[in-house]
Amino acid sequence: MDVFSDPLNRDVYITGFLWILKMTLAGGVGALLLGVVLAAMRVSPVPVLRGFGTAWVNIFRNTPLTLIIFFCYFGLFTTLGFSLADDIDLNNFWLGVIGLSVYTAAFVCEAIRSGINTVPAGQAEAARAIGMTFFQTLSIVILPQAGRAVIAPLGSILIALCKNSTIVGTIGLMESSNAMKELINANGDAVIPIFLVFAGTFAVVLIPTGYAFGWLANRLAVKR
Protein backbone atom coordinates (compact mmCIF):
# COMPACT_ATOMS: atom_id res chain seq x y z
CA MET A 1 0.00 0.00 0.00
CA ASP A 2 2.71 2.46 -0.97
CA VAL A 3 0.14 4.66 -2.66
CA PHE A 4 -1.68 5.45 0.56
CA SER A 5 1.44 6.04 2.61
CA ASP A 6 1.92 9.29 0.66
CA PRO A 7 0.07 12.00 2.67
CA LEU A 8 -1.01 13.79 -0.53
CA ASN A 9 -2.66 10.64 -1.85
CA ARG A 10 -4.29 9.99 1.50
CA ASP A 11 -5.67 13.50 1.36
CA VAL A 12 -7.20 12.85 -2.07
CA TYR A 13 -8.78 9.65 -0.71
CA ILE A 14 -10.15 11.28 2.44
CA THR A 15 -11.44 14.39 0.68
CA GLY A 16 -13.18 12.17 -1.87
CA PHE A 17 -15.06 10.23 0.77
CA LEU A 18 -15.87 13.35 2.78
CA TRP A 19 -17.68 14.72 -0.29
CA ILE A 20 -19.57 11.42 -0.58
CA LEU A 21 -20.49 11.61 3.09
CA LYS A 22 -21.68 15.19 2.84
CA MET A 23 -23.69 14.51 -0.32
CA THR A 24 -25.30 11.46 1.27
CA LEU A 25 -26.29 13.41 4.37
CA ALA A 26 -27.53 16.54 2.56
CA GLY A 27 -29.13 14.55 -0.24
CA GLY A 28 -30.70 12.15 2.26
CA VAL A 29 -32.30 14.96 4.26
CA GLY A 30 -33.47 16.69 1.08
CA ALA A 31 -34.86 13.49 -0.43
CA LEU A 32 -36.63 12.48 2.80
CA LEU A 33 -38.34 15.85 3.26
CA LEU A 34 -39.26 16.11 -0.41
CA GLY A 35 -40.33 12.46 -0.56
CA VAL A 36 -42.69 12.82 2.42
CA VAL A 37 -44.26 15.94 0.88
CA LEU A 38 -44.65 14.13 -2.45
CA ALA A 39 -46.21 11.10 -0.76
CA ALA A 40 -48.64 13.40 1.09
CA MET A 41 -49.53 14.98 -2.25
CA ARG A 42 -50.11 11.60 -3.88
CA VAL A 43 -52.66 10.58 -1.23
CA SER A 44 -54.30 14.01 -0.88
CA PRO A 45 -57.89 14.60 -1.97
CA VAL A 46 -56.77 17.49 -4.25
CA PRO A 47 -56.42 16.24 -7.86
CA VAL A 48 -53.85 18.91 -8.82
CA LEU A 49 -51.53 17.87 -5.97
CA ARG A 50 -52.00 14.19 -6.78
CA GLY A 51 -51.13 14.90 -10.42
CA PHE A 52 -48.06 16.88 -9.42
CA GLY A 53 -46.80 14.06 -7.18
CA THR A 54 -47.43 11.43 -9.84
CA ALA A 55 -45.71 13.51 -12.53
CA TRP A 56 -42.67 14.07 -10.29
CA VAL A 57 -42.29 10.38 -9.59
CA ASN A 58 -42.71 9.36 -13.22
CA ILE A 59 -40.31 11.99 -14.54
CA PHE A 60 -37.46 11.67 -12.06
CA ARG A 61 -37.66 7.95 -11.38
CA ASN A 62 -37.37 7.19 -15.09
CA THR A 63 -34.60 9.63 -15.99
CA PRO A 64 -31.01 8.41 -15.59
CA LEU A 65 -29.35 10.16 -12.67
CA THR A 66 -26.38 11.13 -14.87
CA LEU A 67 -28.75 13.13 -17.07
CA ILE A 68 -30.29 14.85 -14.06
CA ILE A 69 -26.87 15.78 -12.68
CA PHE A 70 -25.81 17.03 -16.12
CA PHE A 71 -28.96 19.11 -16.31
CA CYS A 72 -28.23 20.62 -12.89
CA TYR A 73 -24.80 21.68 -14.12
CA PHE A 74 -25.34 22.60 -17.77
CA GLY A 75 -29.00 23.62 -17.44
CA LEU A 76 -29.38 25.22 -14.05
CA PHE A 77 -25.85 26.57 -13.64
CA THR A 78 -24.26 27.16 -17.05
CA THR A 79 -27.35 28.17 -19.02
CA LEU A 80 -29.69 29.64 -16.42
CA GLY A 81 -26.92 31.08 -14.24
CA PHE A 82 -28.25 29.41 -11.09
CA SER A 83 -25.21 29.58 -8.82
CA LEU A 84 -25.25 28.25 -5.26
CA ALA A 85 -21.75 29.13 -4.05
CA ASP A 86 -18.75 31.17 -5.21
CA ASP A 87 -16.39 28.28 -4.58
CA ILE A 88 -16.46 26.02 -7.63
CA ASP A 89 -16.34 22.77 -5.62
CA LEU A 90 -19.03 23.93 -3.23
CA ASN A 91 -21.19 25.04 -6.16
CA ASN A 92 -20.84 21.63 -7.82
CA PHE A 93 -21.57 19.98 -4.49
CA TRP A 94 -24.86 21.81 -4.04
CA LEU A 95 -25.87 21.30 -7.67
CA GLY A 96 -25.20 17.61 -7.09
CA VAL A 97 -27.25 17.61 -3.89
CA ILE A 98 -30.20 19.13 -5.77
CA GLY A 99 -29.97 16.48 -8.48
CA LEU A 100 -29.62 13.64 -5.98
CA SER A 101 -32.52 14.97 -3.87
CA VAL A 102 -35.06 15.38 -6.64
CA TYR A 103 -34.11 11.95 -8.05
CA THR A 104 -34.06 10.05 -4.74
CA ALA A 105 -37.23 11.81 -3.51
CA ALA A 106 -39.18 9.93 -6.19
CA PHE A 107 -38.08 6.61 -4.64
CA VAL A 108 -38.68 7.83 -1.08
CA CYS A 109 -42.18 8.94 -2.11
CA GLU A 110 -43.04 5.50 -3.50
CA ALA A 111 -41.61 3.72 -0.44
CA ILE A 112 -43.67 5.89 1.92
CA ARG A 113 -46.75 5.50 -0.23
CA SER A 114 -46.44 1.73 0.02
CA GLY A 115 -46.03 2.23 3.79
CA ILE A 116 -49.27 4.19 3.86
CA ASN A 117 -50.97 1.18 2.27
CA THR A 118 -49.90 -0.97 5.24
CA VAL A 119 -51.81 1.28 7.67
CA PRO A 120 -55.36 -0.09 8.10
CA ALA A 121 -58.12 2.21 6.83
CA GLY A 122 -59.66 2.16 10.31
CA GLN A 123 -56.75 4.22 11.65
CA ALA A 124 -57.63 7.12 9.36
CA GLU A 125 -61.35 6.71 10.09
CA ALA A 126 -60.73 6.85 13.83
CA ALA A 127 -58.62 9.98 13.39
CA ARG A 128 -61.30 11.66 11.29
CA ALA A 129 -63.99 10.55 13.73
CA ILE A 130 -62.38 12.49 16.60
CA GLY A 131 -62.30 15.59 14.41
CA MET A 132 -58.80 15.60 12.94
CA THR A 133 -58.31 17.45 9.66
CA PHE A 134 -56.79 15.69 6.66
CA PHE A 135 -53.39 17.16 7.47
CA GLN A 136 -53.57 16.12 11.14
CA THR A 137 -54.71 12.62 10.23
CA LEU A 138 -51.78 12.28 7.87
CA SER A 139 -49.08 13.80 10.06
CA ILE A 140 -50.14 12.44 13.47
CA VAL A 141 -51.63 9.05 12.65
CA ILE A 142 -50.80 7.81 9.14
CA LEU A 143 -47.25 8.95 8.33
CA PRO A 144 -45.66 7.92 11.65
CA GLN A 145 -47.01 4.41 11.15
CA ALA A 146 -46.21 4.36 7.43
CA GLY A 147 -42.66 5.57 8.08
CA ARG A 148 -41.99 2.81 10.60
CA ALA A 149 -43.23 0.22 8.14
CA VAL A 150 -40.73 1.28 5.46
CA ILE A 151 -37.54 1.85 7.47
CA ALA A 152 -35.80 -1.10 5.81
CA PRO A 153 -36.58 0.00 2.23
CA LEU A 154 -35.61 3.58 3.17
CA GLY A 155 -32.27 2.12 4.29
CA SER A 156 -31.82 0.56 0.85
CA ILE A 157 -32.62 3.90 -0.77
CA LEU A 158 -30.05 5.63 1.46
CA ILE A 159 -27.42 3.08 0.47
CA ALA A 160 -28.24 3.60 -3.21
CA LEU A 161 -28.06 7.36 -2.68
CA CYS A 162 -24.59 7.05 -1.14
CA LYS A 163 -23.29 5.10 -4.13
CA ASN A 164 -25.18 7.29 -6.63
CA SER A 165 -23.44 10.37 -5.27
CA THR A 166 -20.28 9.27 -7.13
CA ILE A 167 -22.10 10.41 -10.28
CA VAL A 168 -21.61 14.01 -9.17
CA GLY A 169 -17.98 13.35 -10.12
CA THR A 170 -19.10 13.73 -13.74
CA ILE A 171 -19.54 17.47 -13.22
CA GLY A 172 -16.07 17.85 -11.75
CA LEU A 173 -16.41 17.34 -8.00
CA MET A 174 -13.40 15.45 -6.61
CA GLU A 175 -15.52 12.86 -4.85
CA SER A 176 -14.30 9.31 -4.34
CA SER A 177 -14.64 7.98 -7.91
CA ASN A 178 -12.75 10.99 -9.31
CA ALA A 179 -10.23 10.61 -6.52
CA MET A 180 -9.76 6.97 -7.45
CA LYS A 181 -9.34 7.84 -11.12
CA GLU A 182 -6.71 10.42 -10.22
CA LEU A 183 -4.77 7.98 -8.04
CA ILE A 184 -4.94 5.27 -10.70
CA ASN A 185 -3.71 7.67 -13.39
CA ALA A 186 -0.72 8.56 -11.25
CA ASN A 187 -0.04 5.02 -10.02
CA GLY A 188 -0.56 2.64 -12.91
CA ASP A 189 1.26 -0.13 -11.09
CA ALA A 190 -1.27 -0.25 -8.25
CA VAL A 191 -4.62 -0.21 -10.03
CA ILE A 192 -6.10 -3.18 -8.24
CA PRO A 193 -5.06 -2.22 -4.69
CA ILE A 194 -6.42 1.29 -5.22
CA PHE A 195 -9.69 -0.07 -6.55
CA LEU A 196 -10.03 -2.48 -3.65
CA VAL A 197 -9.42 0.25 -1.07
CA PHE A 198 -12.09 2.50 -2.58
CA ALA A 199 -14.62 -0.29 -3.06
CA GLY A 200 -13.80 -1.67 0.39
CA THR A 201 -14.41 1.69 2.02
CA PHE A 202 -17.93 1.76 0.59
CA ALA A 203 -18.56 -1.80 1.74
CA VAL A 204 -17.20 -1.21 5.24
CA VAL A 205 -19.54 1.73 5.76
CA LEU A 206 -22.60 0.50 3.88
CA ILE A 207 -22.87 -3.10 5.05
CA PRO A 208 -23.30 -2.07 8.72
CA THR A 209 -25.68 0.68 7.56
CA GLY A 210 -27.92 -1.97 6.03
CA TYR A 211 -27.89 -4.04 9.21
CA ALA A 212 -28.52 -0.94 11.34
CA PHE A 213 -31.64 -0.15 9.33
CA GLY A 214 -32.82 -3.74 9.64
CA TRP A 215 -32.37 -3.58 13.39
CA LEU A 216 -34.17 -0.23 13.55
CA ALA A 217 -37.05 -1.56 11.43
CA ASN A 218 -37.60 -4.40 13.92
CA ARG A 219 -37.28 -2.16 16.92
CA LEU A 220 -39.69 0.50 15.71
CA ALA A 221 -42.21 -1.83 14.07
CA VAL A 222 -45.80 -1.00 15.02
CA LYS A 223 -47.38 -3.99 16.78
CA ARG A 224 -50.92 -4.72 15.65
Binding site: G122, A126, G131, M132, R224
Partner: protein
Protein backbone atom coordinates in the same frame (compact mmCIF):
# COMPACT_ATOMS: atom_id res chain seq x y z
CA UNK B 1 -84.31 11.97 27.75
CA UNK B 2 -85.75 15.28 26.51
CA UNK B 3 -88.14 16.10 23.67
CA UNK B 4 -85.48 18.11 21.92
CA UNK B 5 -84.14 16.39 18.79
CA UNK B 6 -80.37 16.01 18.51
CA UNK B 7 -80.01 13.89 15.37
CA UNK B 8 -82.53 14.12 12.55
CA UNK B 9 -82.35 12.08 9.35
CA UNK B 10 -84.81 13.23 6.72
CA UNK B 11 -85.44 11.08 3.62
CA UNK B 12 -81.85 9.91 3.49
CA UNK B 13 -80.82 7.88 0.46
CA UNK B 14 -77.49 6.25 -0.20
CA UNK B 15 -76.31 3.96 -2.98
CA UNK B 16 -73.25 1.77 -3.31
CA UNK B 17 -73.32 1.46 -7.09
CA UNK B 18 -76.63 -0.22 -7.92
CA UNK B 19 -77.20 -1.21 -4.27
CA UNK B 20 -79.70 1.00 -2.46
CA UNK B 21 -78.21 0.79 1.07
CA UNK B 22 -80.29 3.55 2.64
CA UNK B 23 -83.79 3.84 1.23
CA UNK B 24 -85.68 6.96 2.29
CA UNK B 25 -84.62 6.70 5.91
CA UNK B 26 -86.27 9.01 8.43
CA UNK B 27 -85.08 8.91 12.02
CA UNK B 28 -85.09 11.35 14.89
CA UNK B 29 -82.97 10.81 17.97
CA UNK B 30 -83.79 12.98 20.98
CA UNK B 31 -81.23 14.34 23.41
CA UNK B 32 -80.42 11.65 25.94
CA UNK B 33 -82.14 8.93 23.94
CA UNK B 34 -80.58 5.51 23.41
CA UNK B 35 -81.53 4.06 20.04
CA UNK B 36 -80.48 0.53 19.21
CA UNK B 37 -80.43 -0.35 15.52
CA UNK B 38 -80.83 -4.02 14.70
CA UNK B 39 -81.38 -5.97 11.52
CA UNK B 40 -79.87 -8.63 9.29
CA UNK B 41 -76.43 -8.25 7.70
CA UNK B 42 -76.42 -5.90 4.76
CA UNK B 43 -79.54 -4.10 5.92
CA UNK B 44 -77.73 -0.74 5.98
CA UNK B 45 -77.52 -0.30 9.74
CA UNK B 46 -73.76 0.31 9.81
CA UNK B 47 -74.04 2.71 6.91
CA UNK B 48 -76.78 4.56 8.78
CA UNK B 49 -74.53 4.87 11.82
CA UNK B 50 -71.55 6.03 9.77
CA UNK B 51 -73.63 8.53 7.82
CA UNK B 52 -74.40 10.45 11.03
CA UNK B 53 -70.83 11.76 11.27
CA UNK B 54 -70.37 11.65 7.51
CA UNK B 55 -67.82 8.88 7.38
CA UNK B 56 -70.23 7.80 4.64
CA UNK B 57 -71.53 10.66 2.49
CA UNK B 58 -75.16 10.33 1.46
CA UNK B 59 -76.67 10.80 -1.99
CA UNK B 60 -79.83 12.66 -1.06
CA UNK B 61 -81.87 13.81 1.92
CA UNK B 62 -80.62 15.76 4.92
CA UNK B 63 -78.99 14.91 8.21
CA UNK B 64 -79.18 17.51 10.96
CA UNK B 65 -77.11 17.42 14.11
CA UNK B 66 -77.99 19.70 17.02
CA UNK B 67 -80.08 21.93 14.75
CA UNK B 68 -77.49 22.31 11.98
CA UNK B 69 -77.18 20.35 8.73
CA UNK B 70 -73.98 18.28 8.45
CA UNK B 71 -71.18 20.27 6.82
CA UNK B 72 -69.94 18.72 3.57
CA UNK B 73 -66.18 18.87 4.21
CA UNK B 74 -63.22 20.71 5.68
CA UNK B 75 -62.93 22.26 9.10
CA UNK B 76 -66.68 22.58 9.81
CA UNK B 77 -67.02 18.83 9.23
CA UNK B 78 -64.00 18.09 11.44
CA UNK B 79 -65.57 20.24 14.16
CA UNK B 80 -68.86 18.35 13.91
CA UNK B 81 -67.08 15.02 14.15
CA UNK B 82 -65.29 16.22 17.28
CA UNK B 83 -68.74 16.58 18.86
CA UNK B 84 -69.91 13.09 17.87
CA UNK B 85 -68.01 10.20 19.40
CA UNK B 86 -67.65 7.03 17.40
CA UNK B 87 -66.78 3.51 18.52
CA UNK B 88 -65.85 1.01 15.79
CA UNK B 89 -66.23 -2.73 15.49
CA UNK B 90 -62.45 -3.17 15.16
CA UNK B 91 -61.60 -0.63 17.91
CA UNK B 92 -59.19 1.30 15.63
CA UNK B 93 -56.97 2.48 18.47
CA UNK B 94 -53.90 4.31 17.17
CA UNK B 95 -51.41 1.45 17.09
CA UNK B 96 -48.27 3.58 17.52
CA UNK B 97 -49.56 5.47 20.59
CA UNK B 98 -49.96 4.34 24.18
CA UNK B 99 -53.39 3.90 25.71
CA UNK B 100 -53.13 7.26 27.50
CA UNK B 101 -51.91 9.01 24.33
CA UNK B 102 -54.83 7.49 22.43
CA UNK B 103 -57.28 9.10 24.84
CA UNK B 104 -55.40 12.42 25.02
CA UNK B 105 -54.81 12.89 21.30
CA UNK B 106 -58.22 14.32 20.37
CA UNK B 107 -58.50 16.93 23.13
CA UNK B 108 -54.87 18.10 22.78
CA UNK B 109 -54.58 18.12 18.98
CA UNK B 110 -58.13 18.86 17.88
CA UNK B 111 -59.35 21.05 20.75
CA UNK B 112 -55.88 22.39 21.67
CA UNK B 113 -56.56 21.85 25.38
CA UNK B 114 -53.66 21.91 27.83
CA UNK B 115 -52.04 18.47 28.14
CA UNK B 116 -51.99 18.63 31.97
CA UNK B 117 -55.75 19.17 32.11
CA UNK B 118 -56.43 16.52 29.48
CA UNK B 119 -54.17 13.99 31.21
CA UNK B 120 -56.22 14.24 34.37
CA UNK B 121 -59.48 13.80 32.50
CA UNK B 122 -58.05 10.94 30.41
CA UNK B 123 -56.84 9.08 33.50
CA UNK B 124 -60.23 9.54 35.16
CA UNK B 125 -61.92 8.10 32.06
CA UNK B 126 -59.50 5.17 31.89
CA UNK B 127 -60.12 4.45 35.57
CA UNK B 128 -63.81 4.61 34.89
CA UNK B 129 -63.63 1.97 32.16
CA UNK B 130 -61.27 -0.05 34.34
CA UNK B 131 -58.03 0.35 32.36
CA UNK B 132 -56.26 3.00 34.47
CA UNK B 133 -53.43 0.63 35.34
CA UNK B 134 -52.69 -0.08 31.65
CA UNK B 135 -52.28 3.55 30.59
CA UNK B 136 -48.69 3.20 29.39
CA UNK B 137 -49.22 0.03 27.35
CA UNK B 138 -49.77 -0.10 23.60
CA UNK B 139 -53.08 -1.24 22.08
CA UNK B 140 -51.63 -4.56 20.83
CA UNK B 141 -50.78 -5.48 24.45
CA UNK B 142 -54.44 -5.33 25.51
CA UNK B 143 -57.29 -7.78 24.98
CA UNK B 144 -60.08 -6.92 22.59
CA UNK B 145 -62.48 -6.04 25.39
CA UNK B 146 -59.91 -3.76 26.99
CA UNK B 147 -59.15 -2.11 23.66
CA UNK B 148 -62.82 -1.44 23.05
CA UNK B 149 -63.19 0.12 26.50
CA UNK B 150 -60.21 2.37 25.69
CA UNK B 151 -61.93 3.29 22.43
CA UNK B 152 -65.00 4.35 24.41
CA UNK B 153 -62.79 6.41 26.75
CA UNK B 154 -61.14 8.00 23.71
CA UNK B 155 -64.55 9.01 22.36
CA UNK B 156 -65.66 10.31 25.76
CA UNK B 157 -62.50 12.40 26.16
CA UNK B 158 -63.86 14.76 23.50
CA UNK B 159 -66.94 15.33 25.71
CA UNK B 160 -69.23 14.51 22.78
CA UNK B 161 -72.90 15.40 22.48
CA UNK B 162 -73.66 11.92 21.18
CA UNK B 163 -71.95 8.56 20.79
CA UNK B 164 -72.23 6.26 17.79
CA UNK B 165 -71.46 2.56 18.23
CA UNK B 166 -70.92 0.50 15.08
CA UNK B 167 -71.20 -3.13 16.21
CA UNK B 168 -68.92 -2.53 19.21
CA UNK B 169 -68.95 -6.13 20.44
CA UNK B 170 -69.02 -8.06 17.15
CA UNK B 171 -65.23 -8.55 17.00
CA UNK B 172 -64.91 -9.63 20.65
CA UNK B 173 -64.46 -13.03 22.23
CA UNK B 174 -67.72 -13.95 23.99
CA UNK B 175 -66.32 -13.58 27.50
CA UNK B 176 -65.31 -9.98 26.77
CA UNK B 177 -68.66 -8.79 25.48
CA UNK B 178 -70.03 -8.22 28.97
CA UNK B 179 -67.33 -5.81 30.13
CA UNK B 180 -67.94 -3.55 27.11
CA UNK B 181 -71.73 -3.71 27.43
CA UNK B 182 -71.42 -2.80 31.13
CA UNK B 183 -69.63 0.43 30.22
CA UNK B 184 -72.23 1.19 27.55
CA UNK B 185 -75.11 0.49 29.89
CA UNK B 186 -73.64 2.86 32.48
CA UNK B 187 -73.34 5.58 29.82
CA UNK B 188 -76.93 5.02 28.76
CA UNK B 189 -78.13 5.38 32.36
CA UNK B 190 -76.24 8.67 32.70
CA UNK B 191 -78.22 10.16 29.84
CA UNK B 192 -75.71 10.02 27.00
CA UNK B 193 -77.34 10.19 23.58
CA UNK B 194 -76.43 6.95 21.85
CA UNK B 195 -77.02 5.27 18.51
CA UNK B 196 -75.97 1.65 18.83
CA UNK B 197 -75.78 -0.81 15.95
CA UNK B 198 -75.57 -4.24 17.57
CA UNK B 199 -76.65 -7.83 17.61
CA UNK B 200 -76.78 -7.86 21.43
CA UNK B 201 -80.50 -8.29 22.07
CA UNK B 202 -79.97 -8.28 25.83
CA UNK B 203 -78.46 -4.82 25.65
CA UNK B 204 -81.29 -3.66 23.40
CA UNK B 205 -83.87 -4.93 25.92
CA UNK B 206 -82.48 -3.37 29.03
CA UNK B 207 -80.59 -0.25 27.91
CA UNK B 208 -82.44 1.08 24.87
CA UNK B 209 -85.23 3.63 24.88
CA UNK B 210 -86.12 2.57 21.39
CA UNK B 211 -85.30 -0.24 19.01
CA UNK B 212 -85.10 0.46 15.31
CA UNK B 213 -85.32 -2.46 12.92
CA UNK B 214 -83.76 -2.18 9.47
CA UNK B 215 -84.00 -4.47 6.46
CA UNK B 216 -82.90 -3.92 2.84
CA UNK B 217 -81.93 -0.32 3.50
CA UNK B 218 -85.33 0.58 4.88
CA UNK B 219 -86.23 1.53 8.39
CA UNK B 220 -88.99 -1.00 8.90
CA UNK B 221 -90.02 -0.63 12.50
CA UNK B 222 -89.34 1.61 15.47
CA UNK B 223 -90.68 0.87 18.97
CA UNK B 224 -89.71 0.69 22.65
CA UNK B 225 -87.80 -2.56 23.27
CA UNK B 226 -90.49 -4.28 25.36
CA UNK B 227 -93.08 -3.65 22.67
CA UNK B 228 -90.77 -4.54 19.78
CA UNK B 229 -89.58 -7.84 21.20
CA UNK B 230 -93.05 -8.88 22.43
CA UNK B 231 -95.10 -7.74 19.42
CA UNK B 232 -93.08 -7.07 16.29
CA UNK B 233 -95.47 -5.65 13.70
CA UNK B 234 -93.73 -6.34 10.39
CA UNK B 235 -93.17 -9.78 8.90
CA UNK B 236 -89.48 -9.00 8.36
CA UNK B 237 -89.01 -8.22 12.05
CA UNK B 238 -90.97 -11.32 13.10
CA UNK B 239 -88.88 -13.46 10.80
CA UNK B 240 -85.61 -11.88 12.05
CA UNK B 241 -86.54 -12.28 15.71
CA UNK B 242 -87.68 -15.86 15.27
CA UNK B 243 -84.27 -16.68 13.79
CA UNK B 244 -82.17 -15.10 16.54
CA UNK B 245 -84.31 -15.72 19.60
CA UNK B 246 -84.93 -19.44 19.18
CA UNK B 247 -81.29 -20.31 19.92
Amino acid sequence: MSDEALIVLDQVNKYFGPLHVLDDVNLTVAKGEVVVVIGPSGSGKSTLCRAINRLEPINSGTITFDGKPLPAEGRPLAKLRSEVGMVFQSFNLFAHKTILQNVMLGPTKVRKEKPAVVRERAMALLDRVGIGNQADKYPAQLSGGQQQRVAIARALAMQPKALLFDEPTSALDPEMVGEVLDVMTALAKEGMTMVVVTHEMGFARHAANRVVFMADGQLVESAPPAEFFANPKSDRAKDFLSKILTH
